[in-house]
């Protein structure tokens, strides 16, 4: 404190000058319209730049919240998509409503966060931070904004285990958007986590590299139209009737964070029907 007083006493003259100058400058900005407008114009622009800078920093710290809000909004928007409405059923009545749930929607979306993920194993699994208390059950599909992720194979109270696309037991039939057909089986060969193999596609189908593949209507687990990947390379030979296709996955599994678990409201009906159809043992295929 004494040091401050001593400093003020030593700098009394410059301080008095600054005080008097400030008083004069205040009068200038107060009583002269031109100077007033320029000063406050500059002050306002500085204030705005500080605001922009400040909002940049605060928005950075709010990224997590914003991300969560976007995931929720995505879920809501997905619910409004045409293919998610039961009114698209063959009955065709636009006013058709589900008699059990009294809603028009077919799927519900549950946002979840990946808390464990692997890409280096032969059979990779993903652990999600949502369980059956959040409505997650076995056989629900998991997607992310980039594309398909996997299928729930087990759910505990607060966590669930999903089989990743990067699992040798995972199989799915793709829909060729350009050709308007669903054909073949996609599976992972356990090699590169960015690529999967597509087999059983007839070699008379006119394939092109770069064609986009989506989940098809035939899938019992995934809604139609979720991106799977792009055809990177296709080979065929006269010895076989099928192509050997390499597909680049739409999902980057090394960067999985927020995912969406899809709940088919009518899953019980599908399960009942599935029990009637004889299926192969093991594997979570569609």
């Amino acid at each position: 404190m004494l040091v401050i007083f001593r400093w003020i006493r030593n700098q009394a003259y410059p301080l008095l000058y600054v005080l008097l100058l400030l008083s004069a400058v205040t009068q200038i900005f107060r009583y002269h319209f031109y100077q007033h407008s320029i000063y406050f114009g500059h002050a306002l622009s500085i204030h705005r730049s500080i605001d922009v800078w400040k909002s940049g920093i605060t928005s950075y710290f709010k990224l997590r919240t914003t991300n969560e809000q976007l995931v929720k909004e995505n879920g809501l928007l997905r619910n409004q998509l045409n293919w998610n409405l039961t009114s698209n059923s063959p009955k065709g009545a636009s006013t058709y409503k589900d008699t059990f749930t009294n809603t028009l929607i077919k799927y519900e979306y549950i946002p979840a966060r990946v808390i464990r993920n692997s890409v280096n194993e032969q059979n990779n699994f993903i652990v999600l931070d949502r369980g059956y208390k959040d409505g997650i059950k076995k056989h629900m599909s998991v997607i992310c904004p980039m594309g398909i992720v996997g299928v729930v194979v087990e759910s505990a109270a607060h966590y669930s285990l999903a089989m990743s696309v990067l699992n040798s037991k995972f199989e799915i039939t793709p829909y060729f958007y350009n050709l308007k057909i669903s054909q073949g089986v996609i599976s992972w060969d356990g090699d590169d986590p960015s690529y999967v193999e597509l087999e059983e596609v007839n070699r008379f189908v006119k394939l092109k590299n770069g064609m986009k593949l989506y989940t098809s209507n035939y899938s019992l687990l995934f809604p139609a139209g979720i991106p799977i990947g792009t055809i990177e390379k296709s080979e065929s030979n006269l010895k076989s009737n099928f192509y050997s296709i390499k597909v680049k996955l739409a999902t980057d599994f090394s960067q999985l964070d927020v995912v969406t678990v899809i709940k088919n409201i009518h899953q019980n009906e599908l399960d009942v029907l599935n029990q009637i159809i004889p299926t192969q043992e093991g594997g979570a295929n569609d």
Binding site: Y17, L20, S23, V25, Q27, I28, H32, Q35
Partner: protein, 169 residues
């Protein structure tokens, strides 16, 4: 005390001259003489610098009140008096002047040329501050410098006329 009264009366006189004559007479857009700065040139060498600073503030305030330019002359006067301390350090040897029996800054000390440069330095400081606040724009920087130099020269000429009229050495 008498000296203080003399300066107050002189200050009022210069304030009136400035607002009634020099403010109204339009010589050229780039010449706006403010010879009242002469009051700072004739300050005694031993004057209290705090008193002079506060005095300059009220002197500027008076001119502003008369001329309706609130704050401009005040800022210029206060800055001039503050900077004058450093100009004096560069131009004057106060001890030598006091030994020679000089109580005020006189032409006799180092001649006309020296006095002209010294006066111009103080006048330019004053005018520069005044025109900075008057134009208040970065794009007018060269205009500010030009008008400051021209007006300082004009003020210097008027100060010489005052000196002759008042019979100052």
């Amino acid at each position: 005390m008498i000296e203080v009264v003399r300066f107050i009366v002189g200050g009022l006189f210069f304030a009136l001259i400035q607002t009634l004559i020099f403010k109204e007479v339009n010589i050229a857009w780039w010449i706006k003489p403010m010879p009242y700065v002469y009051l700072f040139l004739i300050l005694p060498l031993s004057s209290n610098r705090f008193g002079v600073l506060i005095g300059a503030f009220f002197f500027g305030l008076t001119i502003d009140a008369f001329g309706g330019s609130l704050g401009m002359h005040t800022a210029a006067c206060v800055t001039t008096v503050f900077v004058k301390n450093y100009i004096d350090l560069y131009f004057l040897d106060e001890n030598s002047m006091q030994l020679q029996g000089m109580r005020y800054i006189q032409i006799d000390y180092k001649g006309w040329q020296w006095y002209g440069i010294y006066s111009f330095a103080i006048l330019f400081t004053h005018h520069l501050v005044y025109f900075i606040f008057d134009y208040f724009s970065w794009s007018s920087l060269f205009t500010i410098l030009f008008v400051s130099v021209c007006s300082a020269i004009a003020s210097l000429l008027f100060i010489q006329i005052f000196r002759l009229l008042l019979g100052h050495k």
